[in-house]
């Protein structure tokens, strides 16, 4: 957005601060082949936290479509592959790209883009300009999926 008028500096500052609070800027990432080899945060995720995100119906939403070795969650989906063994089928970087924006690999995928803000329509108020998961959450889920060796 280009400012057409010169606003008092304080107002510009306030607007900038509000928009910065409302949206976490997406961190840049580099795709190599079919993967994002480097962590979005530069840190390793936490597999325990990742498991909780995958199990949550309000955070990850993963079990709506996928099943996973999370026996305490009774109601799991079967629209998408079972996550059991994901860590032996895919590398960490491949899993990261599939979470961030699976449409890079299959434009017709129903896998939601967990870390993408463009090419979305009618996003509900409250979810606008926010990725489904934060960079840190993506790394936690990646760490969990990598741990699913069988």
């Amino acid at each position: 957005m280009r400012l057409r008028f010169i606003l008092p500096l304080a107002v510009v500052g306030a607007v900038w601060a509000v928009s910065a609070m409302a949206q976490e800027e997406l961190r840049p990432y580099v795709i190599v082949g079919d993967s994002i080899p480097d962590s979005l945060t530069g840190l390793s995720g936490d597999a325990e936290r990742g498991r909780a995100i995958v199990a949550s119906r309000t955070a990850g939403l993963c079990l709506l479509c996928h099943s996973a070795p999370i026996p305490e969650e009774r109601f799991q989906g079967n629209l998408a592959p079972n996550l059991a063994g994901a860590g032996s089928r895919w590398s960490e970087g491949q899993l990261r790209l599939r979470l961030v924006d699976a449409s890079r690999l299959n434009p017709n995928t129903i896998m939601p883009p967990y870390y993408r803000l463009d090419r979305l329509h009618r996003v509900a108020r409250g979810f606008e300009d926010k990725p489904i998961l934060s960079a840190g959450q993506i790394e936690d889920v990646v760490a969990y999926l990598v741990s699913l060796k069988e």
């Binding site: 119906r57 939403l61 079990l63 709506l64 479509c65 009774r74 109601f75 799991q76 989906g77 079967n78 629209l79 129903i110 939601p112 883009p113 090419r119 979305l120 329509h121 009618r122 996003v123 509900a124 108020r125 979810f127 926010k130 489904i132």
Partner: protein, 245 residues
């Protein structure tokens, strides 16, 4: 599973389309089939009383104009164009048109008890009849718009109605069987709601699930979607007012 599959095949015959009724368990089917157990029938009773009650500056009841039995099949053909409206209206819209122009009474609010009661009363009079959208060329672009809405991705989760209800119907979405989305039973008594609700409410639920901004209650998009869905379900048997999980 084998028994269920063959039972479904026997029920459907050559028909690939399945209603939400066919996709739900035997206990719920039984609840719907028994008028003394189907909670939607309470709304039908209230709707029948409303139908006979005089209202508005005209001091007329619906029954004063519409003869008993004359509403058979009406719910099976809406949305439709109707005199006095330059765009198609759904059944709720038609009820409200009568209300404002004939009875000269204020329109019922969206999803209000009165509107649900009257629509349930009307829907019951189409139970067992085939869905019969009007053969009206003016509806063609409306249905096309509805189809586009049905097939377009939306929301933070970037899903379309068709992703689930065309491409993955019958599969389990977090433990719930995805129906093919044929509007045979509206208004429905949905157990998840613990009350009766319209197709509009159901569509809004899906939009909220996709984290898409629902259309306003009076938006023409709902009518377009319903016009498309009714055409898609043409010939299927109305089972309204239905029970759904």
């Amino acid at each position: 599973m084998v028994f269920l599959a063959s039972f479904a095949a026997a029920q459907g015959g050559a028909e690939d389309r399945r209603s939400g009724y066919q996709d739900m368990g035997a206990a719920l089917q039984k609840m719907q089939d028994d008028d003394t157990a189907n909670p939607a029938m309470l709304f039908v009773q209230a709707g029948e009383a409303l139908w006979k009650q005089k209202a508005g500056a005209s001091d007329k009841a619906c029954a004063d104009c519409h003869a008993a039995g004359s509403m058979k099949g009406v719910a099976a053909r809406y949305p439709a164009f109707t005199p006095g409206s330059d765009r198609p209206v759904d059944l709720d819209g038609r009820i409200n048109l009568c209300r404002t122009t004939q009875q000269k009474a204020p329109a019922f609010g969206p999803e209000s008890q009165e509107l649900l009661q009257l629509s349930a009363y009307l829907a019951l009079q189409s139970r067992g009849l085939p869905i019969a959208p009007p053969d009206d060329a003016r509806l063609t672009p409306v249905r096309a718009e509805g189809e586009q809405l049905f097939k377009g991705r939306q929301g933070q989760l970037n899903l379309s109605c068709a992703d689930c209800h065309d491409d993955n119907a019958g599969k389990s979405l977090g433990g719930a069987t995805i129906p093919q989305a044929h509007p045979t039973g509206y208004p429905i008594y949905r157990l998840e709601w613990q009350t009766l609700g319209s197709l509009k409410r159901r569509l809004r639920n899906c939009m909220i699930g996709m984290r898409a901004e629902p259309f306003a209650y009076d938006a023409p998009e709902y009518v377009a979607l319903e016009a498309y869905l009714m055409q898609r379900a043409k010939g299927m048997t109305m089972d309204a007012p239905a029970v759904r999980p």
